[in-house]
Symmetry: C2
Subunit: 290 residues, 2 copies
Protein backbone atom coordinates (compact mmCIF):
# COMPACT_ATOMS: atom_id res chain seq x y z
CA UNK A 1 0.00 0.00 0.00
CA UNK A 2 2.90 2.39 0.79
CA UNK A 3 4.05 2.80 -2.77
CA UNK A 4 0.57 3.32 -4.17
CA UNK A 5 -0.04 7.01 -4.81
CA UNK A 6 -2.01 7.10 -8.03
CA UNK A 7 -5.03 4.86 -8.44
CA UNK A 8 -7.19 4.63 -11.54
CA UNK A 9 -10.62 3.08 -11.28
CA UNK A 10 -12.27 1.90 -14.50
CA UNK A 11 -16.02 1.81 -13.90
CA UNK A 12 -17.08 3.87 -10.91
CA UNK A 13 -20.29 2.08 -9.89
CA UNK A 14 -21.19 0.50 -6.57
CA UNK A 15 -17.93 -1.42 -6.13
CA UNK A 16 -15.53 0.94 -7.94
CA UNK A 17 -17.10 3.92 -6.18
CA UNK A 18 -16.91 2.31 -2.76
CA UNK A 19 -13.21 1.48 -3.24
CA UNK A 20 -12.58 5.10 -4.25
CA UNK A 21 -14.40 6.43 -1.19
CA UNK A 22 -12.62 4.00 1.13
CA UNK A 23 -9.14 4.68 -0.25
CA UNK A 24 -9.55 8.45 -0.17
CA UNK A 25 -10.82 8.20 3.40
CA UNK A 26 -7.93 6.12 4.77
CA UNK A 27 -5.11 7.65 2.72
CA UNK A 28 -5.40 11.40 2.30
CA UNK A 29 -2.52 11.78 -0.19
CA UNK A 30 -3.83 9.17 -2.61
CA UNK A 31 -4.99 10.45 -6.00
CA UNK A 32 -7.92 8.60 -7.49
CA UNK A 33 -8.87 8.98 -11.16
CA UNK A 34 -12.18 7.68 -12.47
CA UNK A 35 -12.27 6.27 -16.00
CA UNK A 36 -15.34 5.44 -18.04
CA UNK A 37 -17.37 6.29 -21.09
CA UNK A 38 -20.26 8.11 -19.47
CA UNK A 39 -19.29 11.61 -18.26
CA UNK A 40 -22.60 12.02 -16.39
CA UNK A 41 -21.82 8.98 -14.27
CA UNK A 42 -18.19 10.04 -13.84
CA UNK A 43 -19.25 13.51 -12.70
CA UNK A 44 -21.62 11.89 -10.21
CA UNK A 45 -18.70 9.82 -8.87
CA UNK A 46 -16.62 12.97 -8.43
CA UNK A 47 -19.48 14.73 -6.67
CA UNK A 48 -19.86 11.73 -4.35
CA UNK A 49 -16.15 12.01 -3.51
CA UNK A 50 -15.26 8.63 -4.96
CA UNK A 51 -12.71 10.12 -7.40
CA UNK A 52 -10.67 13.31 -7.47
CA UNK A 53 -10.78 13.68 -11.24
CA UNK A 54 -12.06 11.70 -14.20
CA UNK A 55 -11.50 11.12 -17.88
CA UNK A 56 -13.02 9.21 -20.77
CA UNK A 57 -9.55 8.69 -22.26
CA UNK A 58 -8.55 5.21 -21.11
CA UNK A 59 -4.87 5.43 -22.12
CA UNK A 60 -4.39 8.89 -20.63
CA UNK A 61 -6.30 7.89 -17.50
CA UNK A 62 -3.89 5.12 -16.47
CA UNK A 63 -0.52 6.53 -17.51
CA UNK A 64 0.49 7.65 -13.99
CA UNK A 65 -1.29 4.82 -12.17
CA UNK A 66 0.51 2.56 -9.68
CA UNK A 67 -2.71 0.60 -9.32
CA UNK A 68 -5.52 0.10 -11.82
CA UNK A 69 -8.82 -1.24 -10.55
CA UNK A 70 -11.12 -2.65 -13.20
CA UNK A 71 -14.61 -2.59 -11.76
CA UNK A 72 -16.82 -3.47 -14.71
CA UNK A 73 -19.07 -6.50 -15.43
CA UNK A 74 -16.97 -9.67 -15.87
CA UNK A 75 -17.69 -9.93 -19.57
CA UNK A 76 -16.07 -6.52 -20.14
CA UNK A 77 -12.80 -6.99 -18.21
CA UNK A 78 -10.63 -8.12 -21.15
CA UNK A 79 -12.06 -5.43 -23.39
CA UNK A 80 -11.15 -2.78 -20.78
CA UNK A 81 -7.58 -4.07 -20.41
CA UNK A 82 -7.17 -3.88 -24.17
CA UNK A 83 -8.43 -0.28 -24.17
CA UNK A 84 -5.94 0.91 -21.59
CA UNK A 85 -2.97 -1.34 -22.29
CA UNK A 86 -0.99 1.31 -24.17
CA UNK A 87 -1.03 3.60 -21.15
CA UNK A 88 0.15 1.09 -18.53
CA UNK A 89 3.57 1.63 -16.96
CA UNK A 90 5.67 -1.53 -16.57
CA UNK A 91 5.09 -3.06 -13.16
CA UNK A 92 1.72 -1.39 -12.55
CA UNK A 93 -0.62 -3.56 -10.51
CA UNK A 94 -3.94 -4.31 -12.21
CA UNK A 95 -6.82 -5.86 -10.33
CA UNK A 96 -10.40 -6.70 -11.23
CA UNK A 97 -13.33 -7.14 -8.83
CA UNK A 98 -15.44 -9.62 -10.80
CA UNK A 99 -17.44 -12.55 -9.47
CA UNK A 100 -15.97 -15.12 -11.86
CA UNK A 101 -12.26 -15.75 -12.08
CA UNK A 102 -11.04 -18.71 -14.19
CA UNK A 103 -11.29 -17.32 -17.70
CA UNK A 104 -10.85 -13.66 -16.73
CA UNK A 105 -7.62 -14.23 -14.81
CA UNK A 106 -6.14 -16.30 -17.64
CA UNK A 107 -6.96 -13.67 -20.25
CA UNK A 108 -5.82 -10.75 -18.12
CA UNK A 109 -2.48 -12.44 -17.34
CA UNK A 110 -1.94 -13.12 -21.02
CA UNK A 111 -2.81 -9.56 -22.10
CA UNK A 112 -0.63 -7.96 -19.42
CA UNK A 113 2.48 -10.15 -19.81
CA UNK A 114 5.56 -7.89 -19.73
CA UNK A 115 3.46 -4.85 -18.80
CA UNK A 116 1.40 -4.94 -15.59
CA UNK A 117 1.03 -7.45 -12.78
CA UNK A 118 -2.49 -8.82 -12.72
CA UNK A 119 -4.10 -10.00 -9.50
CA UNK A 120 -7.72 -11.19 -9.54
CA UNK A 121 -9.87 -10.07 -6.62
CA UNK A 122 -13.48 -10.63 -5.67
CA UNK A 123 -14.85 -8.50 -2.84
CA UNK A 124 -17.93 -10.36 -1.57
CA UNK A 125 -19.70 -7.27 -0.45
CA UNK A 126 -22.07 -6.51 -3.25
CA UNK A 127 -25.67 -5.63 -2.92
CA UNK A 128 -28.68 -5.94 -5.17
CA UNK A 129 -28.26 -2.17 -5.58
CA UNK A 130 -26.01 -0.67 -8.22
CA UNK A 131 -24.41 2.67 -9.10
CA UNK A 132 -22.13 5.13 -7.34
CA UNK A 133 -25.14 6.61 -5.53
CA UNK A 134 -25.22 3.46 -3.40
CA UNK A 135 -21.44 3.37 -2.87
CA UNK A 136 -20.05 3.82 0.62
CA UNK A 137 -16.59 3.83 2.19
CA UNK A 138 -17.57 1.15 4.71
CA UNK A 139 -18.94 -1.34 2.15
CA UNK A 140 -16.06 -3.81 2.61
CA UNK A 141 -15.78 -3.53 6.39
CA UNK A 142 -15.94 -7.05 7.83
CA UNK A 143 -16.63 -8.67 4.45
CA UNK A 144 -14.50 -11.29 2.74
CA UNK A 145 -12.40 -10.48 -0.31
CA UNK A 146 -11.09 -13.45 -2.26
CA UNK A 147 -7.76 -12.89 -4.00
CA UNK A 148 -6.71 -15.38 -6.64
CA UNK A 149 -3.17 -16.67 -6.94
CA UNK A 150 -1.75 -18.55 -9.92
CA UNK A 151 1.72 -19.67 -10.95
CA UNK A 152 2.07 -16.37 -12.81
CA UNK A 153 1.12 -14.14 -9.88
CA UNK A 154 3.82 -11.66 -8.82
CA UNK A 155 4.38 -12.13 -5.05
CA UNK A 156 5.02 -8.47 -4.36
CA UNK A 157 1.90 -7.43 -6.26
CA UNK A 158 -0.09 -10.07 -4.37
CA UNK A 159 1.11 -8.67 -1.03
CA UNK A 160 0.28 -5.12 -2.06
CA UNK A 161 -3.23 -6.15 -3.14
CA UNK A 162 -3.74 -8.06 0.08
CA UNK A 163 -2.69 -4.95 2.05
CA UNK A 164 -5.09 -2.84 -0.01
CA UNK A 165 -8.11 -5.01 0.75
CA UNK A 166 -7.17 -5.29 4.41
CA UNK A 167 -6.84 -1.50 4.56
CA UNK A 168 -10.44 -1.04 3.41
CA UNK A 169 -11.65 -3.48 6.05
CA UNK A 170 -11.95 -6.81 4.25
CA UNK A 171 -10.84 -10.24 5.46
CA UNK A 172 -8.69 -11.72 2.74
CA UNK A 173 -8.93 -15.31 1.50
CA UNK A 174 -6.47 -16.55 -1.13
CA UNK A 175 -7.65 -19.24 -3.54
CA UNK A 176 -6.76 -20.47 -7.00
CA UNK A 177 -9.21 -19.24 -9.68
CA UNK A 178 -10.86 -22.64 -10.20
CA UNK A 179 -11.54 -23.22 -6.48
CA UNK A 180 -12.89 -19.67 -6.30
CA UNK A 181 -15.34 -20.33 -9.11
CA UNK A 182 -16.53 -23.60 -7.62
CA UNK A 183 -17.08 -22.18 -4.13
CA UNK A 184 -18.82 -18.96 -5.19
CA UNK A 185 -21.09 -20.97 -7.48
CA UNK A 186 -22.22 -22.83 -4.34
CA UNK A 187 -22.68 -19.91 -1.96
CA UNK A 188 -23.60 -17.03 -4.25
CA UNK A 189 -24.30 -17.78 -7.90
CA UNK A 190 -26.65 -20.68 -7.13
CA UNK A 191 -28.58 -18.41 -4.72
CA UNK A 192 -29.15 -15.87 -7.45
CA UNK A 193 -30.52 -18.44 -9.87
CA UNK A 194 -32.80 -19.81 -7.14
CA UNK A 195 -34.05 -16.32 -6.30
CA UNK A 196 -34.70 -15.43 -9.95
CA UNK A 197 -36.61 -18.70 -10.41
CA UNK A 198 -38.70 -18.10 -7.28
CA UNK A 199 -39.50 -14.47 -8.12
CA UNK A 200 -40.51 -15.58 -11.60
CA UNK A 201 -42.82 -18.36 -10.33
CA UNK A 202 -44.51 -16.22 -7.67
CA UNK A 203 -44.85 -13.44 -10.25
CA UNK A 204 -46.84 -15.73 -12.54
CA UNK A 205 -49.10 -16.71 -9.67
CA UNK A 206 -49.53 -13.07 -8.73
CA UNK A 207 -50.70 -12.23 -12.23
CA UNK A 208 -53.34 -14.98 -11.86
CA UNK A 209 -54.34 -14.06 -8.30
CA UNK A 210 -53.77 -10.67 -6.71
CA UNK A 211 -54.15 -12.07 -3.18
CA UNK A 212 -50.62 -13.46 -3.57
CA UNK A 213 -49.16 -10.05 -2.72
CA UNK A 214 -51.20 -9.89 0.49
CA UNK A 215 -49.70 -13.10 1.80
CA UNK A 216 -46.17 -12.95 0.38
CA UNK A 217 -44.32 -11.75 3.45
CA UNK A 218 -41.00 -12.23 5.26
CA UNK A 219 -39.75 -15.45 3.72
CA UNK A 220 -40.73 -14.43 0.18
CA UNK A 221 -39.13 -11.02 0.61
CA UNK A 222 -35.88 -12.44 1.96
CA UNK A 223 -35.59 -15.22 -0.57
CA UNK A 224 -36.19 -12.99 -3.58
CA UNK A 225 -34.25 -9.91 -2.46
CA UNK A 226 -31.35 -10.66 -4.78
CA UNK A 227 -33.72 -11.21 -7.72
CA UNK A 228 -33.65 -7.42 -8.04
CA UNK A 229 -29.93 -7.54 -8.82
CA UNK A 230 -28.72 -6.29 -12.20
CA UNK A 231 -29.94 -8.71 -14.86
CA UNK A 232 -27.04 -7.91 -17.20
CA UNK A 233 -24.35 -8.49 -14.60
CA UNK A 234 -25.96 -11.75 -13.52
CA UNK A 235 -26.51 -13.08 -17.02
CA UNK A 236 -22.76 -12.56 -17.54
CA UNK A 237 -21.83 -14.26 -14.27
CA UNK A 238 -24.11 -17.24 -14.94
CA UNK A 239 -22.67 -17.73 -18.41
CA UNK A 240 -19.03 -17.16 -17.41
CA UNK A 241 -19.25 -19.53 -14.47
CA UNK A 242 -21.65 -21.97 -16.14
CA UNK A 243 -19.63 -25.14 -15.59
CA UNK A 244 -19.51 -24.80 -11.81
CA UNK A 245 -22.96 -23.22 -11.63
CA UNK A 246 -24.76 -25.91 -13.66
CA UNK A 247 -23.21 -28.53 -11.40
CA UNK A 248 -24.46 -26.65 -8.31
CA UNK A 249 -27.96 -26.37 -9.76
CA UNK A 250 -27.98 -30.10 -10.55
CA UNK A 251 -26.91 -30.93 -7.01
CA UNK A 252 -29.66 -28.68 -5.75
CA UNK A 253 -32.23 -30.43 -7.92
CA UNK A 254 -31.16 -33.71 -6.32
CA UNK A 255 -31.78 -32.23 -2.86
CA UNK A 256 -35.26 -31.16 -3.94
CA UNK A 257 -35.99 -34.61 -5.34
CA UNK A 258 -35.06 -36.23 -2.03
CA UNK A 259 -37.36 -33.88 -0.10
CA UNK A 260 -40.19 -34.38 -2.60
CA UNK A 261 -39.90 -38.15 -2.19
CA UNK A 262 -40.04 -37.93 1.60
CA UNK A 263 -43.00 -35.53 1.52
CA UNK A 264 -44.83 -37.78 -0.94
CA UNK A 265 -44.18 -40.81 1.30
CA UNK A 266 -45.33 -38.79 4.35
CA UNK A 267 -42.10 -39.87 6.01
CA UNK A 268 -42.21 -37.43 8.92
CA UNK A 269 -39.24 -38.77 10.88
CA UNK A 270 -36.94 -38.73 7.82
CA UNK A 271 -38.08 -35.18 7.00
CA UNK A 272 -37.38 -34.04 10.55
CA UNK A 273 -33.90 -35.60 10.31
CA UNK A 274 -33.20 -33.77 7.03
CA UNK A 275 -34.54 -30.45 8.32
CA UNK A 276 -32.58 -30.75 11.57
CA UNK A 277 -29.40 -31.46 9.66
CA UNK A 278 -29.99 -28.46 7.38
CA UNK A 279 -30.67 -26.27 10.43
CA UNK A 280 -27.48 -27.44 12.14
CA UNK A 281 -25.44 -26.82 8.97
CA UNK A 282 -26.69 -23.27 8.84
CA UNK A 283 -25.99 -22.68 12.52
CA UNK A 284 -22.42 -24.00 12.03
CA UNK A 285 -21.80 -21.62 9.14
CA UNK A 286 -23.30 -18.60 10.91
CA UNK A 287 -21.14 -19.38 13.97
CA UNK A 288 -17.99 -19.50 11.79
CA UNK A 289 -18.91 -16.11 10.26
CA UNK A 290 -18.62 -14.46 13.67
Amino acid sequence: MKKIKNVSIVGVGLIGGSIGLALRKIKRNIRVTGIGRNTVKLARAKKAGAVEKFTTDFVEGVKDADLIIIAVPVSKTSEMIKKLIDGIKTGTIVIDVGSVKGKVVKEAERLLTGKGHFVGTHPMAGSERTGVENAKAGLFQGSTCIITETRKTDKEALNAVRALWKAVGANVLILDPETHDRLVAEVSHLNHVLAFALASQVGENHRRNEDISKIAAGSYNDMTRIATSSSGIWADICIDNRVALLKSISNYEKKLTILKTLINKKDKSALIKKFDRAKKSREDIIRCQK
Copy 2:
Protein backbone atom coordinates in the same frame (compact mmCIF):
# COMPACT_ATOMS: atom_id res chain seq x y z
CA MET B 1 -64.99 -8.84 20.00
CA LYS B 2 -67.49 -7.15 22.37
CA LYS B 3 -68.96 -10.34 23.75
CA ILE B 4 -65.63 -12.04 24.23
CA LYS B 5 -64.62 -11.93 27.90
CA ASN B 6 -63.00 -15.30 28.54
CA VAL B 7 -60.39 -16.58 26.16
CA SER B 8 -58.61 -19.94 26.45
CA ILE B 9 -55.40 -20.50 24.53
CA VAL B 10 -54.29 -24.08 23.97
CA GLY B 11 -50.54 -24.03 23.38
CA VAL B 12 -48.90 -20.83 24.55
CA GLY B 13 -45.85 -20.68 22.25
CA LEU B 14 -44.80 -17.92 19.86
CA ILE B 15 -48.23 -17.47 18.24
CA GLY B 16 -50.47 -18.38 21.19
CA GLY B 17 -48.35 -16.26 23.52
CA SER B 18 -48.36 -13.27 21.17
CA ILE B 19 -52.17 -13.41 20.86
CA GLY B 20 -52.44 -13.52 24.65
CA LEU B 21 -50.14 -10.52 25.04
CA ALA B 22 -51.94 -8.56 22.34
CA LEU B 23 -55.45 -9.28 23.67
CA ARG B 24 -54.54 -8.42 27.24
CA LYS B 25 -52.94 -5.20 26.07
CA ILE B 26 -55.89 -3.93 24.03
CA LYS B 27 -58.71 -5.20 26.26
CA ARG B 28 -57.96 -4.82 29.96
CA ASN B 29 -61.03 -6.76 31.17
CA ILE B 30 -60.35 -9.85 29.10
CA ARG B 31 -59.42 -13.01 31.00
CA VAL B 32 -56.93 -15.26 29.27
CA THR B 33 -56.35 -18.84 30.39
CA GLY B 34 -53.41 -20.86 29.11
CA ILE B 35 -53.89 -24.58 28.55
CA GLY B 36 -51.19 -27.15 27.92
CA ARG B 37 -49.42 -30.19 29.25
CA ASN B 38 -46.15 -28.62 30.33
CA THR B 39 -46.50 -26.56 33.53
CA VAL B 40 -42.99 -25.13 33.17
CA LYS B 41 -43.92 -23.63 29.79
CA LEU B 42 -47.31 -22.48 31.10
CA ALA B 43 -45.69 -20.76 34.08
CA ARG B 44 -43.29 -19.03 31.69
CA ALA B 45 -46.29 -17.78 29.68
CA LYS B 46 -47.89 -16.40 32.84
CA LYS B 47 -44.66 -14.71 33.86
CA ALA B 48 -44.40 -13.17 30.37
CA GLY B 49 -47.93 -11.78 30.82
CA ALA B 50 -49.41 -13.80 27.96
CA VAL B 51 -51.99 -15.48 30.22
CA GLU B 52 -53.59 -14.56 33.52
CA LYS B 53 -53.86 -18.15 34.74
CA PHE B 54 -53.19 -21.62 33.42
CA THR B 55 -54.23 -25.23 33.75
CA THR B 56 -53.28 -28.65 32.44
CA ASP B 57 -56.94 -29.73 32.64
CA PHE B 58 -58.23 -29.25 29.10
CA VAL B 59 -61.95 -29.67 29.92
CA GLU B 60 -61.82 -27.41 32.96
CA GLY B 61 -59.71 -24.86 31.07
CA VAL B 62 -62.36 -24.15 28.41
CA LYS B 63 -65.60 -24.37 30.33
CA ASP B 64 -66.05 -20.58 30.70
CA ALA B 65 -64.48 -19.69 27.37
CA ASP B 66 -66.27 -17.53 24.80
CA LEU B 67 -63.32 -18.05 22.49
CA ILE B 68 -60.89 -20.96 22.30
CA ILE B 69 -57.66 -20.47 20.37
CA ILE B 70 -55.87 -23.67 19.39
CA ALA B 71 -52.26 -22.73 18.77
CA VAL B 72 -50.52 -26.07 18.37
CA PRO B 73 -48.77 -27.70 15.37
CA VAL B 74 -51.29 -28.54 12.61
CA SER B 75 -51.04 -32.29 13.15
CA LYS B 76 -52.26 -31.87 16.75
CA THR B 77 -55.32 -29.69 16.18
CA SER B 78 -57.93 -32.47 15.98
CA GLU B 79 -56.43 -34.24 18.97
CA MET B 80 -56.69 -31.03 21.02
CA ILE B 81 -60.31 -30.46 20.03
CA LYS B 82 -61.12 -34.01 21.14
CA LYS B 83 -59.42 -33.40 24.49
CA LEU B 84 -61.41 -30.29 25.32
CA ILE B 85 -64.73 -31.04 23.60
CA ASP B 86 -66.55 -32.03 26.80
CA GLY B 87 -65.87 -28.59 28.30
CA ILE B 88 -67.08 -26.46 25.38
CA LYS B 89 -70.22 -24.35 25.87
CA THR B 90 -72.65 -24.39 22.94
CA GLY B 91 -71.88 -21.49 20.63
CA THR B 92 -68.30 -20.98 21.74
CA ILE B 93 -66.05 -19.82 18.95
CA VAL B 94 -63.07 -22.09 18.29
CA ILE B 95 -60.21 -21.00 16.04
CA ASP B 96 -56.89 -22.53 15.09
CA VAL B 97 -53.81 -20.71 13.81
CA GLY B 98 -52.25 -23.44 11.66
CA SER B 99 -50.51 -23.06 8.30
CA VAL B 100 -52.56 -25.73 6.51
CA LYS B 101 -56.32 -25.57 6.34
CA GLY B 102 -58.14 -28.08 4.09
CA LYS B 103 -58.10 -31.23 6.21
CA VAL B 104 -57.95 -29.43 9.57
CA VAL B 105 -61.00 -27.25 8.90
CA LYS B 106 -63.03 -30.24 7.70
CA GLU B 107 -62.18 -32.31 10.77
CA ALA B 108 -62.69 -29.46 13.22
CA GLU B 109 -66.10 -28.63 11.74
CA ARG B 110 -67.12 -32.26 12.00
CA LEU B 111 -65.93 -32.63 15.60
CA LEU B 112 -67.58 -29.40 16.76
CA THR B 113 -70.95 -29.83 15.03
CA GLY B 114 -73.69 -28.81 17.50
CA LYS B 115 -71.13 -27.56 20.02
CA GLY B 116 -68.77 -24.76 18.99
CA HIS B 117 -68.42 -22.62 15.88
CA PHE B 118 -65.13 -23.37 14.19
CA VAL B 119 -63.34 -20.72 12.13
CA GLY B 120 -59.93 -21.52 10.63
CA THR B 121 -57.36 -18.74 10.81
CA HIS B 122 -53.76 -18.44 9.68
CA PRO B 123 -51.83 -15.42 10.95
CA MET B 124 -48.90 -15.02 8.55
CA ALA B 125 -46.61 -13.51 11.10
CA GLY B 126 -44.50 -16.39 12.21
CA SER B 127 -40.79 -16.36 12.63
CA GLU B 128 -38.09 -19.00 12.56
CA ARG B 129 -38.07 -18.53 16.35
CA THR B 130 -40.39 -20.45 18.63
CA GLY B 131 -41.61 -20.34 22.24
CA VAL B 132 -43.36 -17.79 24.43
CA GLU B 133 -39.99 -16.14 25.15
CA ASN B 134 -40.10 -14.78 21.59
CA ALA B 135 -43.77 -13.76 21.77
CA LYS B 136 -44.71 -10.09 21.55
CA ALA B 137 -47.94 -8.10 21.54
CA GLY B 138 -47.05 -6.39 18.26
CA LEU B 139 -46.31 -9.59 16.30
CA PHE B 140 -49.41 -9.29 14.11
CA GLN B 141 -49.24 -5.54 13.51
CA GLY B 142 -49.39 -4.93 9.77
CA SER B 143 -49.30 -8.65 8.91
CA THR B 144 -51.93 -10.59 7.00
CA CYS B 145 -54.22 -13.07 8.70
CA ILE B 146 -56.12 -15.43 6.42
CA ILE B 147 -59.52 -16.54 7.69
CA THR B 148 -61.17 -19.49 6.00
CA GLU B 149 -64.85 -19.58 5.19
CA THR B 150 -66.81 -22.67 4.20
CA ARG B 151 -70.50 -23.45 3.71
CA LYS B 152 -70.62 -24.48 7.37
CA THR B 153 -69.07 -21.29 8.75
CA ASP B 154 -71.29 -19.35 11.18
CA LYS B 155 -71.50 -15.73 9.92
CA GLU B 156 -71.58 -14.17 13.36
CA ALA B 157 -68.58 -16.21 14.48
CA LEU B 158 -66.74 -15.22 11.29
CA ASN B 159 -67.38 -11.53 11.98
CA ALA B 160 -66.21 -11.86 15.58
CA VAL B 161 -63.02 -13.61 14.48
CA ARG B 162 -62.40 -10.97 11.84
CA ALA B 163 -62.81 -8.25 14.48
CA LEU B 164 -60.40 -10.12 16.76
CA TRP B 165 -57.61 -10.26 14.18
CA LYS B 166 -58.18 -6.66 13.16
CA ALA B 167 -58.00 -5.63 16.81
CA VAL B 168 -54.52 -7.14 17.17
CA GLY B 169 -53.35 -5.28 14.07
CA ALA B 170 -53.69 -7.81 11.24
CA ASN B 171 -55.08 -7.24 7.75
CA VAL B 172 -57.71 -9.89 7.16
CA LEU B 173 -58.09 -11.90 3.96
CA ILE B 174 -60.96 -14.37 3.63
CA LEU B 175 -60.40 -17.46 1.46
CA ASP B 176 -61.83 -20.94 1.17
CA PRO B 177 -59.53 -23.58 2.73
CA GLU B 178 -58.39 -25.07 -0.60
CA THR B 179 -57.41 -21.70 -2.10
CA HIS B 180 -55.61 -20.93 1.14
CA ASP B 181 -53.56 -24.11 0.91
CA ARG B 182 -52.66 -23.55 -2.72
CA LEU B 183 -51.56 -19.94 -2.21
CA VAL B 184 -49.54 -20.49 0.96
CA ALA B 185 -47.81 -23.45 -0.69
CA GLU B 186 -46.61 -20.97 -3.32
CA VAL B 187 -45.50 -18.09 -1.09
CA SER B 188 -44.48 -19.81 2.11
CA HIS B 189 -44.27 -23.60 2.16
CA LEU B 190 -42.25 -23.79 -1.07
CA ASN B 191 -39.79 -21.24 0.37
CA HIS B 192 -39.18 -23.40 3.39
CA VAL B 193 -38.45 -26.48 1.31
CA LEU B 194 -36.08 -24.44 -0.88
CA ALA B 195 -34.30 -23.04 2.17
CA PHE B 196 -33.93 -26.46 3.80
CA ALA B 197 -32.52 -27.89 0.54
CA LEU B 198 -30.05 -25.00 0.18
CA ALA B 199 -28.87 -25.14 3.80
CA SER B 200 -28.38 -28.86 3.43
CA GLN B 201 -26.36 -28.54 0.20
CA VAL B 202 -24.11 -25.74 1.47
CA GLY B 203 -23.67 -27.67 4.72
CA GLU B 204 -22.28 -30.65 2.82
CA ASN B 205 -19.86 -28.37 0.98
CA HIS B 206 -18.85 -26.73 4.23
CA ARG B 207 -17.97 -30.10 5.73
CA ARG B 208 -15.70 -30.70 2.72
CA ASN B 209 -14.20 -27.18 2.66
CA GLU B 210 -14.15 -24.82 5.62
CA ASP B 211 -13.58 -21.76 3.42
CA ILE B 212 -17.28 -21.97 2.56
CA SER B 213 -18.18 -20.23 5.81
CA LYS B 214 -15.83 -17.35 5.00
CA ILE B 215 -17.59 -16.58 1.74
CA ALA B 216 -21.19 -17.46 2.59
CA ALA B 217 -22.55 -13.99 3.24
CA GLY B 218 -25.68 -11.90 2.72
CA SER B 219 -27.51 -13.91 0.09
CA TYR B 220 -26.78 -17.24 1.80
CA ASN B 221 -27.86 -15.88 5.18
CA ASP B 222 -31.11 -14.45 3.82
CA MET B 223 -32.03 -17.46 1.75
CA THR B 224 -31.47 -19.97 4.54
CA ARG B 225 -32.85 -17.96 7.47
CA ILE B 226 -36.06 -19.99 7.59
CA ALA B 227 -34.10 -23.27 7.48
CA THR B 228 -33.70 -22.75 11.23
CA SER B 229 -37.48 -23.04 11.68
CA SER B 230 -38.85 -25.87 13.80
CA SER B 231 -38.26 -29.12 11.93
CA GLY B 232 -41.25 -30.84 13.56
CA ILE B 233 -43.71 -28.09 12.69
CA TRP B 234 -42.44 -27.96 9.11
CA ALA B 235 -42.44 -31.71 8.57
CA ASP B 236 -46.12 -31.59 9.59
CA ILE B 237 -46.91 -28.68 7.30
CA CYS B 238 -45.13 -30.27 4.32
CA ILE B 239 -47.00 -33.54 4.79
CA ASP B 240 -50.40 -31.96 5.52
CA ASN B 241 -50.19 -29.66 2.50
CA ARG B 242 -48.33 -32.13 0.29
CA VAL B 243 -50.68 -32.01 -2.69
CA ALA B 244 -50.34 -28.26 -3.23
CA LEU B 245 -46.71 -28.20 -2.11
CA LEU B 246 -45.50 -30.98 -4.42
CA LYS B 247 -47.14 -29.15 -7.31
CA SER B 248 -45.34 -25.93 -6.33
CA ILE B 249 -42.00 -27.74 -6.12
CA SER B 250 -42.56 -29.31 -9.54
CA ASN B 251 -43.35 -25.93 -11.04
CA TYR B 252 -40.21 -24.57 -9.44
CA GLU B 253 -38.13 -27.39 -10.91
CA LYS B 254 -39.46 -26.42 -14.33
CA LYS B 255 -38.28 -22.84 -13.77
CA LEU B 256 -34.82 -24.12 -12.84
CA THR B 257 -34.72 -26.31 -15.94
CA ILE B 258 -35.50 -23.33 -18.16
CA LEU B 259 -32.72 -21.26 -16.57
CA LYS B 260 -30.26 -24.17 -16.80
CA THR B 261 -30.99 -24.54 -20.49
CA LEU B 262 -30.43 -20.85 -21.18
CA ILE B 263 -27.20 -20.81 -19.15
CA ASN B 264 -25.97 -23.90 -20.96
CA LYS B 265 -26.78 -22.30 -24.34
CA LYS B 266 -25.04 -19.07 -23.22
CA ASP B 267 -28.20 -17.25 -24.30
CA LYS B 268 -27.46 -13.94 -22.62
CA SER B 269 -30.37 -11.95 -24.03
CA ALA B 270 -32.93 -14.60 -23.06
CA LEU B 271 -31.43 -14.77 -19.56
CA ILE B 272 -31.60 -11.00 -19.20
CA LYS B 273 -35.25 -11.10 -20.27
CA LYS B 274 -36.05 -13.80 -17.68
CA PHE B 275 -34.16 -11.99 -14.91
CA ASP B 276 -35.78 -8.66 -15.74
CA ARG B 277 -39.22 -10.25 -15.65
CA ALA B 278 -38.45 -11.87 -12.28
CA LYS B 279 -37.19 -8.54 -10.94
CA LYS B 280 -40.30 -6.72 -12.13
CA SER B 281 -42.55 -9.39 -10.59
CA ARG B 282 -40.86 -8.90 -7.25
CA GLU B 283 -41.10 -5.12 -7.46
CA ASP B 284 -44.83 -5.41 -8.24
CA ILE B 285 -45.44 -7.61 -5.21
CA ILE B 286 -43.37 -5.44 -2.86
CA ARG B 287 -45.28 -2.38 -4.09
CA CYS B 288 -48.63 -4.09 -3.38
CA GLN B 289 -47.46 -4.95 0.15
CA LYS B 290 -47.17 -1.27 1.01
